[in-house]
Symmetry: C2
Subunit: 354 residues, 2 copies
Amino acid sequence: MATEMHRAQRAPTPTIKTLAEMTGYSIATISKALRESPVVAPATRDLIFKAAREVGYQANARGMALRTGKSFQAAVLMPVTAARDYEWDGVEYTQTLSGISQALEGTDYRMSVHVIRDAADGAEAARRIVDQGLADGLIFSGILAEDPRIDLLVAEHFPFVSMGRCRKDLVYAHVDIDNEWAAHAATARLIAGGHRRIALVNPERRLSYALDRVDGFVRAFREAGLDAPMELIAEGDLSTHFGRQTVIAFLQLDDAPTAFVCINESTTLGVLSGLGSLGRQVGVDVDVIAYDDINVSAYFTPPITTFYQPIEVLGRTLGQFLLRRMEGEDPKALRQVFRPTLIARQPDNLGGRL
Amino acid sequence: MATEMHRAQRAPTPTIKTLAEMTGYSIATISKALRESPVVAPATRDLIFKAAREVGYQANARGMALRTGKSFQAAVLMPVTAARDYEWDGVEYTQTLSGISQALEGTDYRMSVHVIRDAADGAEAARRIVDQGLADGLIFSGILAEDPRIDLLVAEHFPFVSMGRCRKDLVYAHVDIDNEWAAHAATARLIAGGHRRIALVNPERRLSYALDRVDGFVRAFREAGLDAPMELIAEGDLSTHFGRQTVIAFLQLDDAPTAFVCINESTTLGVLSGLGSLGRQVGVDVDVIAYDDINVSAYFTPPITTFYQPIEVLGRTLGQFLLRRMEGEDPKALRQVFRPTLIARQPDNLGGRL
DNA sequence: TGTTTCAATAAAAACGTTTTTATTTTCCTT
DNA sequence: AAGGAAAATAAAAACGTTTTTATTGAAACA
C-alpha cells in the first residue's frame, strides 16, 4: 500500500512493454534479446540492451516467477533449539548463512531462512517447501542417521545440499566434516598422552554425526588395544548448560574422566565453566580438546587445543553446490568432506593426569 | 527442471481453476470465497472451502505476488563483518532471526535474509529491496547516528522496523535497548564501588548506540561530580579480538583502568582473555561489567555481572511491529525501548581496586 | 521468375491470481 | 404482476514474464 504510494509519484517502473514501445520491437523479441537468445539479430539485441540500460530496466521477479514456475529462492533451514532460558546455541549459523549468501551473490537467487525448532519441524518445512514450491533449492543441517528430509527430497528429485550425511546409502549433494576422523584424532592424541578415562561430550545419538564421533572414539581405543569407556559418552543438546552439567556429573564419579573431547564451542565453554566452578585447572588437572568452527577457543582461558574448521567455508561450498545442483548437475560430483585442522594450544606432552 | 519432473507424475497441483471445475463456480467467485469476501454467499463459501480442503489447495504465491504486486517477503539485513580470520562475531543474530521468524509464523510472510558487509552495503541492499520490490517490509540493525537507510525508507514510505534509533528526529517504527541507561547504570555501579579509572569498550562512534553509551558513561561521572576519562573509551569492531587488544593496551598505561564496561558477549570474552593472559583476576585485580543478549556471561570463569536482555524477545517484537507496519499502522505506535536487567554475579561491594 | 528455405520478428497463449465490470437471479415493493 | 433494487455470481482484464506458433521479408535455388 505504502509501496504503491511512492511508485505513483515517479515514472512507472519500466517493463518489457516499455522497452517494446521505446524500440518498436515486440515484447517477445525484447524478452528473447534480454535472455541473449541466439534467434535475435545481434544488432537488435544491442539496441534493446541499450534501451534497457537507459531506463534502468530490471526484470520483474514476480512475472518471471509466475511464468517459469521458479521462485528464485534458495531456502535454508536454520535450527534453533526450543530456547530454554535463551541458552547460547546455534551461534555458528551466522557464519554459515554468510557463506551461503556469498555463493549466491551475483546470481538471481535470494536466500530465505526458515527457522525450525526440531527434526519434525524440519521435515514439515521441507515438505512445505517442496509442495508449495517455496524455493528452488534447499540447504539444511543437523542430519539424522535416518533423515526423512533426505528421503523426501531424493524421492522428489528436489535440488538440495545437506550439511552432513545420513547413514543411508543414497546419492545426494552434501558437505560434511570428517567427524569420525576428528573424534579419532582427538581421542588418540589424549590416549597417547597417557589418558585412559576420556569423556566424549556428544550430541544426541540420532544425529548422524554423533554416531560418526562415537565410531572415531571407539576406533582410537581399539587401535590402542583398549576398551572404549562407553559410559563416559554424554549425550545431550549442544548448549553451554549441557557441557557444564556433564563435567559436574562426571567428575563426581569414582572413576572420573581425566580428559574431555568436546563437540563444539558452546559445550566447550560449558565444560570450562564446570571445571572452573569445581576448581579444576585445564592443562593441570584435566585436559580438554575442543572442536571449533568460529575460532573462539583461542580466547578461552586458557586457550584450548582445538580441531578447527571455519564454518563460513562450508557455507560457501554449500551455496556453490546448491547453485550447481539447481542447474541440474549430477549430485555425484557435489560431495565434499572437510578435515578440520588441529590447533595445538595446550602442551603436547599431556602426561595423562591419572 | 527437476522440480517439474516430480510434478508431472502426480496429479497436477490444484489451482482456483481446479476448484472452479469441482464446484461449478467461476474462478472469480472461488477467489473471493477463499479471501472470505462478504459478497459471496455463506453457503457457497463453505462449499468452496470444503472443496479446497479436499484437494489440499494452497494458493500459489507467485500468482498472488504478480497480481498484487506484493512479494510476501519480510527482508532482514544481517550484518557480517568482513571476516578477518573468521572472528567470532554476530553470534546473537541466530536468536534475532528466531524471534522475527516466530512473529511471522502463521502469516503469509517468509523471511529473506540479506547479508551485508558494512554500512554502505546495507544502504545499497535497502535501495535494491525498495526499487525492485524484493520485499514488503524490512528489518535492520546496526543503526548509524545518521543512517541513510532510515532516511531512504521514511522518504519512500516503505514499511520497516529498525533495531536501534538514529539521532535524527524522525518518526519510524523501532525497537531498541536503552543503551544510555545501561551504560550509565554500569558506570555508576562501578563508581559507587570506588572505581575512578573506568574503561568503556565501545563500538565505532558512528553507530548511534555508541553515542548513547558514551552519553550514559559521561552522565554517571558528572552525577558523581567527576570528569569522565574520555581517553579510556575504546572504539572498534565488536570482535573478541578487539576486546582482548583493548585490555592489553589499556593495562599498559601508567594510569590504567581498574574496571571495564563491555558492550557485548564477544568483547567481554576478549576482555577476559586479555586479563587471563596478563595474569589479572576478575573480581580481584579488575572489575568487569558486561552486556549480554544471549545469556552466556553466566558461563564465563568467573561469571560476570551483566546487563541482560534476551535478544530473541527483541526479535519477536521486531517481527510483530513489522507485520503491523505492513498493514499500514502508524509508526508512532510501533516504538519500544527495552531496559536490560542487571544480573549481579560479582560481589556488590566492589571496593575499588585502586 | 517462381518456389523454397531460412532468418528475423510478431502475435498469441499461458502461468495463477485479484479486481473491476457485467450479467443473472432473487426478492421486495407497489 | 410488473418493476426495480439488491444479492449473487460470471466474465473479462490485468499483473510481467516466457514460450510456442505464426507471419513477414529476403536470400537461395531451380
